[in-house]
């Protein structure tokens, strides 16, 4: 089979994996090697769906022994199958990397023969890259659940970031849709990677030449919309993963109908929940950068995120007693709770107010989104001039700023024969 054809098949099989970032590690290039990584990561292109392309995202093979219902590569699906040999995949990666097409390699795989055999194949690929080509770019490797812990460890010593997909937000959904995978077999490698990273950090503090185990951390992803879990449940799971497994990121992937299994939404009428995914990511940011807890964002009365407004605005509307916040005195954590103020603008406020009191004019210069923030801020004790919005009108007003179409009642087709039906 030609390389072009293989790339087509194996990139197509890998494209539903969302966890494709190149961040979390600063490593400059050294003479005699090729490649470097940057803390913030780097996007090399954006595909037609608007997602960032930073790594060469491929599978080692899409031949699989499992039959997970939501997956394109399941055994029962009739698709062309292929496998890269380690040598040709390395050559392809280096060819792309030298031309600055990519930031590194994202290597995942379907399970060929057994998890151990598949992991060995991946290790062989990464060893050639690191040792023969002396590749110093970014490598993201998927740990294969069920593989021997020693093999997973060797994989982690070669890769920069590791990930294990948690796949679905609850174990009941998992046993329904992925009968071959168990919750335990997913969480075990995750815990192993966490411990490996912590141990490697301790060793590095003693000796800087100690081997680095997954220095850019680990991430995971789950599919949203294929099963009936609420947003509240997903967010608390996310928070638990951050707290207990020290993950760098949790990715959400809106379910795309790739299968006609009777257990899943029907492909014909089903729309992937892209807006829901977007809101979940916004809430995820609140957890990671804005000092929010999952219990604050959603509670029992409100199990799902409001599609009309971002989660921070919703929180602010439910806690109007918290506001207005005085820009010139408030703490960083308090500033972060104001809708329209992000991490950057909050930091700029802290810097700028050391030089003198801030005004609304000044806030605009700092890049604060005043159209949202103005309702929640005072500058030297004063609200924005000419601002007249009653508290009950605030929700409608904020919604209309973001999505005018959502603020109005849904239009209805009038019918002459309503009563007749």
């Amino acid at each position: 089979m030609e390389l072009l054809e293989k790339l087509d098949i194996l990139a197509d099989a890998a494209k539903y994996d969302a966890a494709c970032t190149s961040s979390g590690l600063d490593r400059s290039g050294r003479p005699g090697t090729i490649g470097s990584t940057t803390m913030a990561g780097c996007c090399h292109s954006f595909s037609a769906d608007g997602r960032c392309i930073s790594l060469l995202k491929v599978l080692q093979t899409n031949v699989c022994v499992y039959d997970c219902q939501y997956c394109v590569n399941r055994r029962s699906n009739d698709v062309p199958r292929a496998a890269f040999t380690p040598e040709e995949l390395c050559e392809l990666t280096m060819g792309f990397y030298r031309r600055n097409y990519i930031e590194g390699l994202f290597l995942s795989s379907a399970v060929l023969r057994s998890p151990d055999y598949t992991t060995e194949l991946m290790i062989r690929t990464l060893r050639i890259l690191r040792e023969k080509y002396r590749f110093g770019g970014y490598i993201h490797a998927k740990a294969i659940p069920g593989a021997d812990p020693l093999l997973t460890r060797r994989l982690g010593l070669l890769a920069d970031r590791m990930s294990v997909n948690i796949e679905l937000p609850s174990s009941s959904s998992l046993s329904l849709l992925a009968p071959d995978k168990k919750k335990g077999s997913i969480l075990a490698p995750m815990a192993q990677i966490r411990d490996g990273i912590q141990e490697s950090k301790r060793e590095l503090a003693v000796c800087r030449h100690a081997p680095r185990f997954a220095p850019a951390g680990q991430s995971t992803q789950m599919i949203v919309g294929a099963t009936p879990e609420s947003d509240r449940r997903i967010l608390s799971l996310t928070q638990a993963l951050y707290d207990r497994y020290h993950l760098k990121r949790v990715f959400y992937s809106a379910y795309m109908p790739v299968s006609s299994s009777p257990l899943l939404p029907v492909p014909g009428s089903f729309q992937p929940p892209l807006l829901r995914e977007h809101r979940l990511y916004q809430a995820d940011w609140l957890l990671r950068y804005y000092h929010f807890r999952a219990e604050e964002i959603l509670d029992e009365d409100q199990p799902d995120l409001d599609p009309r407004l971002d989660p921070k605005c919703c929180w602010a509307l439910r806690h109007l007693d918290f506001f207005p916040v005085e820009v010139n005195h408030a703490d960083y954590e308090v500033l972060l709770r104001v809708p329209g103020l992000g991490v950057r603008s909050a930091r700029r406020i802290l810097t700028a107010r050391r030089a003198g009191p801030l005004t609304f004019e000044g806030l605009k210069r700092l890049g604060v989104v005043l159209k949202r923030a103005q309702y929640f801020l005072t500058c030297s004790g004063r609200m924005m001039q000419g601002l007249k919005v009653s508290e009950d009108g605030l929700l409608r007003h904020l919604v209309s700023l973001e999505a005018p179409a959502l603020a109005q009642p849904v239009p209805e087709q009038l019918s002459l024969f309503d009563s007749a039906v």
Partner: protein
């Protein structure tokens, strides 16, 4: 006493500009216009032609240490931006900096600092975008790439690419400003030089094969059900596309 208002003519280089700053403080003159020899306009203000003097420039450059780290960064990078009348804004910034000292890094709401900061932010953002969007082609063992930036990003891209490809010979050509970054293996093996009439050679068979592979990958990786051209254009505006392999056809590049 107020300073005399004048128009400075200098050679357009950074050293030239710093020499202007030196003169303005020595002669107590306030520049209201900066001109380069190519400008044919006649000014209403008395014209002073400033000769570039490296020693004067270095003295002014060293004085930027007074502005603190943030202020120094803005003072050095502002000259690379495409801000209209950047020399004038930078001169105002420097004057403010000599007054305020390191506090200039805090004065984010000052109109001059704001203008300079936003321009530098634009420059840094564009440089960051280009670290990803540059595409190299392998021609006779060397990597050749072209960009068309609004700001002069080559000095900012230099450390990134030299660190990334220490063993490669490469050329990165800036079409807008007519200069190129050259690199060869070895310590200090780089230079940014003005170039005229830069042309890429024809691509070989291997290069064409890699371009095809990359285009295939690019087209395959997009999920049809999530198509979102607006999101793509927000993240990667169309003016970058002209130089990117994934949007080119081979007859664009191979037969040059």
């Amino acid at each position: 006493m107020s300073w005399t208002q004048v128009c400075y003519r200098y050679d357009g280089t950074y050293s030239g500009f710093l020499s202007c700053v030196f003169h303005s403080y020595v002669d107590r003159e306030e520049p209201v216009e900066f001109r380069t020899p190519e400008d044919m306009c006649v000014s209403l203000y008395p014209l002073r032609t400033v000769e570039t003097d490296e020693d004067h420039a270095k003295r002014v450059y060293r004085s930027f240490a007074k502005f603190g780290r943030e202020g120094q960064r803005l003072a050095v990078r502002c000259f690379l931006t495409s801000l209209p009348e950047r020399e004038l804004w930078l001169w105002r910034f420097l004057r403010l900096g000599y007054d305020l000292g390191p506090k200039i890094g805090l004065a984010l709401t000052d109109p001059t600092v704001d203008k300079v900061r936003k321009a530098v932010q634009h420059l840094e953002h564009e440089a960051h975008q280009y670290t990803g969007f540059v595409r190299f082609s392998e021609l006779d063992g060397a990597l050749v790439g072209e960009i068309q930036p609004k700001d002069r990003v080559l000095p900012l891209l230099r450390p990134h690419f030299c660190s990334r490809y220490p063993q490669e010979r490469f050329v990165l050509h800036d079409r807008t400003h007519g200069e190129a970054l050259f690199h060869r293996p070895g310590p200090q093996g780089w230079a940014i030089l003005p170039v005229e009439d830069f042309r890429m050679g024809p691509a070989g068979a291997e290069e064409l094969a890699y371009r095809t592979l990359w285009r295939t990958f690019y087209d395959t990786i997009a999920i049809e059900g999530r198509r979102n051209p607006k999101c793509r254009m927000t993240n990667m505006p169309k003016h970058y596309w002209a130089m990117m392999t994934e949007f080119q056809k081979d007859w664009d590049t191979a037969l040059l």
